[in-house]
Amino acid sequence: MNPTDQLASAPLMPFYVAAAIAAAGLLLVLRPGRAAMRRAGAVIGLAGFGMLMAQGLKLAGPSDGSVSTPFYMAFAAIGVIGAVRVITHPRPVFAAIYFVLTVLAAGGIFLMLQAEFLAFALIIVYAGAILITYMFVLMLAHQSPEDEIGRIGAEDYDRIPREPLVATLLGFFLMASLGSVIERAPELAMENAAIAQSRATADRAAALQKLPNTMLQQAKAKEPTATGLARDAGGLASATDGAMVQVRVNAEGDAVRTVQVNPADAVDNVQMVGLDLVAKYPASLELAGVILLMAMFGAVVLARRQIELGDDERRKAAGMGSMVLDVPETERGGA
């Protein structure tokens, strides 16, 4: 089997073809040319991306019956369109606004992937804070030029892309390489599904043990007479038997009841993230704080007005005498 045949028979071949089509479309969009050409490019590119997603679905195997797949695809399409506009729009402010679109689409995907906290955090932090900063800087730094009749144009360096062919080629190769990761992902997910499932359940059960209020709330839903969690010498008297948590509560009278609580219902994703953040990765959390602090210092230092000091001023600041000895006192210093 010669290499060409090998490549042709590779399961990823359609993926590569789709990536190539998408890249070709992107190239057409990037190249400054006629609007029709660019529109055609947009269509080709979108088709290519659609093929990529279709290939992804094919790789993912038969449908699991989930209804959310079209939503995924829609958000993905919106995100990619936004991203492409970011890199193609001749006016920077618009590019930034399209970035917001991408962020929103990513937020949607996050939401569907059960990362609710991050979905909103992303939108707030990125779309709300970072992108606004970008826009401020864009506006502070530069005003787009106007032509003779007052139309707002774009700077040459914003209009004309730099080496689009090379960049697109590189992008194609990158996409093709990443294809192998995407190819293997569903397979690995299937293989580890059972383990992942049981570990996730155990994680949630363990997490529930750390959340007595949630536990009591859940128990009350099952056992309305419960007054509080039962305690023994070792602390809370609840126990877990794998999937379910046996919560022992003090009921009416002095009776102690055992209530079964499903941790999957009891602990939501946001709680899990919060617990992970403070219980599993506290040092990283601190580190993130330090990074932000440093960034703040850095920003302050950068934002300060730079005053050019002469040699004499610098010497004076260091506590040394002036180098020029015969200059009268009155003439010393000064900018």
């Binding site: 090998q6 490549l7 028979s9 590779a10 399961p11 990823l12 071949m13 730099r162 080496e163 090379v166 960049a167 590189l170 190769f173 990158l174 093709a176 390489s177 990443l178 294809g179 192998s180 990761v181 190819e183 293997r184």
Partner: protein
């Protein structure tokens, strides 16, 4: 004739010592009570340090001379005390002063190396030390007046050099191991270099210093290899151990490298003592101040080679071929330099060639087997040659650097130069081996020893011819300079005369500049107390040096003989007496003395005729020789030193010059050009290749990074994730 019978008596005396000589060299005993002898090394060192300090303090006084004279005089006194406390026939002792090198890497022979700063004191050491320190002191006194024109930094420098020389020479002579000897050997070489180049602003002096140093290096290389071979073969470099080892080695057979040892040592000795292959530096060394010529290049340092071979006599005895080589080299050097000396016009150069010639005699003496004769000749020569140089220095001092014997005449009648003239006469008589002078006795001992061995008889004849030549050129100088009508042309230093700034410029006697214009105003600068006093003292020493000779003649035990016979030089060899009782069918002593006396007197008479009675005759002979095509080579080659410098130039310097230029070419164009710069150019060219990538555009770099990232990612995907289902 009374001499033959006297000589017979000497023969008996020598035979009497023969039994002594056969004895094994006694093992040296440690003598910690003599540790004070270390001051003999320390005092010159202190003096050197003080001279440096005085130079730093910018002294203008004669303090450096005072310091040096005091320390050297104390040294002499200590040597004298040491000698008197030991007596002439005491055995060798080792005085350990300080640890120097003491390595051991496992037990057994050849597993340790010891070389301490220790003194090996036997009578040979004492003999050398006595005249080295004694003459050193006297010449320092002389120099205090001679060098007074240099007062200041130069004065300090001069006496620093003298102190360093005495330090190194003492270390050389008193060392108990070859490494310390080598240290001293290099030290005297350094001192010699520093003092020859004393007038460092004079190109000739600098060149002479370099020449001496380089020539000596060639010899020193031989000595170093010899010392290494000795350690490899005998496992020690300490004399005490070595002399015992030589005794054992005499019964064993050595390899080729063992036979090489004496030749290596010889090379060192010939370099230091200016013998045949390496002699050309000594005449040039006369560029140094005259006291230096007298002390270092006539009396003491140049006898270090003789000392080395005398000291290693037990080793040389094991190799008869080496002994013969020493004898032949000595004899040929003596003859050759005598012929050159006959044709020189510069007084100091004549004396320099006579030094080379006399050193040849000494080596001949060592080679033919009379260490006594050689050592005695060293001893007597030290006095009369120092005397001659000092008188030459006084003449130079007085006549503004004039040393051309054609431009000086009748000095004995010039006021103030009487002592100089008459002491020079003493020196000349002694050098030409006039009967019953010290030089006569010492030279005679060597000649007798050579004549009485059939295989060395040729050397004896060469020695006799040389003796005649020596007498001739010595008295050529005296008759020209001191006798005859008073007339002189001052040297080129005349302008400096008034402020006593004249110093040893000695090589311009041949200069074409006429100084007749100055002659009317010029007043010779007569030597004063220090120079005259020293001349008289050394003259006295030279006369007294003959006493042992007279004693030897009378068959009495004499001082030098005792000294030599009680040292290792003779005890091991056992050949220091006449082995064949007859030469030419007669008693050798009688015959040889007659020949020797005839040669000396004949030479003096020829000199008297050619250079005093009929001075034009010498020129006429020279012109006649030059005009005849057949004989023209003789005077020209003699005057041109047999073209030795030119031959060396053609044989060594020129090929080296060519080789060095070839190598330089090779180095510049191949090593530097092709290899060094070529290799350097490879990255430059590779850089040029990739230069467009580094255009400063951020995205350009990002492209490279992304490309690399993608390559890595693709490889990882292919290799581990099995992209394309191929894995």
């Amino acid at each position: 004739m009374m001499l033959p019978s006297l000589m017979l008596a000497l023969n008996d005396a020598a035979a009497g010592h023969g039994s002594l000589a056969d004895a094994v060299i006694p093992k040296a005993v440690a003598a910690p009570e003599l540790r004070w002898a270390g001051w003999i090394l320390l005092l010159p060192a202190i003096s050197a340090v003080l001279c440096t300090l005085l130079a730093v303090l910018r002294t203008k006084s004669k303090l450096p001379a005072l310091v040096t004279v005091l320390s050297l005089g104390t040294c002499f006194a200590m040597v004298l005390k040491l000698y008197l406390s030991r007596g002439p026939d005491a055995g060798p002792v080792v005085v350990h002063l300080w640890d120097w090198m003491n390595f051991s890497w496992g037990g057994g022979p050849w597993k340790s190396f010891q070389a301490d700063i220790s003194l090996y004191i036997d009578s040979l050491t004492m003999l050398w030390m006595l005249f080295v320190t004694g003459l050193g002191t006297l010449i320092a006194v002389y120099a205090s007046e001679y060098m007074e024109g240099e007062r200041g930094a130069g004065y300090c420098r001069f006496f620093f050099g003298v102190s360093i020389f005495l330090l190194a020479m003492s270390a050389l002579v008193m060392a108990d191991n070859l490494l310390l000897l080598y240290l001293g050997w290099e030290g005297v070489g350094l001192a010699s270099y520093l003092l020859i180049g004393f007038y460092y602003q004079k190109p000739a002096a600098v060149a002479a210093g370099k020449k001496a140093f380089i020539m000596n290096r060639i010899g020193d290389l031989g000595l170093a290899i010899g010392i290494w071979l000795i350690w490899v073969n005998y496992g020690s470099i300490e004399f005490n151990t070595l002399f015992q080892a030589f005794g054992d080695a005499a019964r064993g057979v050595g390899g080729w490298d063992r036979s090489l040892i004496p030749f290596c040592l010889m090379l060192g000795a010939f370099g230091k003592s200016a013998q045949l292959p390496l002699f050309t530096w000594l005449p040039d060394a006369m560029e140094g101040p005259t006291p230096v010529s007298a002390l270092i290049h006539a009396a003491t340092m140049v006898t270090a080679g003789v000392y080395l071979i005398a000291r290693m006599q037990p080793l040389f005895t094991l190799h008869p071929d080496a002994m013969a080589t020493v004898a032949w080299v000595g004899a040929l050097t003596a003859l050759l330099s005598a012929t050159i000396g006959m044709a020189q016009y510069d007084i100091k150069r004549v004396f320099a060639y006579s030094t080379v010639s006399q050193l040849g005699y000494m080596f001949m003496g060592l080679g033919v087997g009379t260490a006594f004769g050689a050592a005695y000749h060293v001893f007597t020569h030290a006095f009369f040659k120092a005397l001659l140089f000092l008188t030459a220095g006084a003449v130079m001092h007085g006549f503004a650097g004039q040393l051309d014997l054609r431009r000086l005449s009748g000095l004995r009648k010039v006021p103030g130069f009487a002592i100089v003239s008459w002491t020079m006469l003493v020196g000349c008589l002694w050098l030409s081996a006039f009967p019953y002078t010290a030089g006569f006795f010492s030279k005679d001992l060597i000649l007798v020893q050579a004549m009485s061995q059939p295989r060395f008889q040729v050397l004896g004849w060469i020695g006799l011819i040389t003796a005649a030549m020596t007498a001739y050129y010595t008295f050529r100088v005296w008759f020209r300079v001191c006798a005859g009508p008073v007339s002189y042309v001052p040297g080129e230093d005349a302008h400096a005369h008034d402020d006593h700034g004249d110093h040893g410029h000695d090589d311009h006697g041949h200069g074409a500049k006429a100084h007749d214009a100055h002659a009317g105003e010029f007043h010779p600068h007569a030597p004063r107390f220090a120079i005259n006093g020293v001349l008289l003292l050394i003259c006295l020493g030279a006369i007294l040096a003959g006493i042992p000779g007279i004693q030897a003649l009378r068959g009495q035990h004499n001082w030098v003989q005792e000294m030599v016979y009680h040292s290792s030089a003779v005890r091991a060899s056992g050949v220091d007496h006449v082995t064949t009782p007859v030469a030419f069918g007669l008693d050798p002593h009688g015959v040889v003395s007659v020949f020797g006396i005839s040669a000396a007197i004949g030479g003096i008479l020829i000199a008297l005729w050619l250079h005093l009675l009929d001075r034009r005759m010498a020129d006429r002979i020279r012109t006649a020789l030059l005009s005849n095509g057949l004989t023209r080579w003789l005077p020209t080659s003699m005057e041109n030193k047999w073209y030795f410098d030119e031959i060396y130039h053609a044989l060594f310097r020129l090929p080296m010059w060519i080789t060095s230029h070839l190598l330089h070419f090779f180095d510049r164009h191949f090593i530097d050009g092709l290899l060094v710069n070529g290799i350097g150019r490879v990255p430059v060219m590779v850089g040029r290749l990739f230069q467009p990538l580094y255009n400063g555009a951020l995205q350009g770099y990002a492209t490279s990074m992304a490309g690399g990232l993608i390559l890595v990612l693709a490889w990882v995907a292919w290799r581990w994730l099995g992209a394309g289902g191929v894995s």
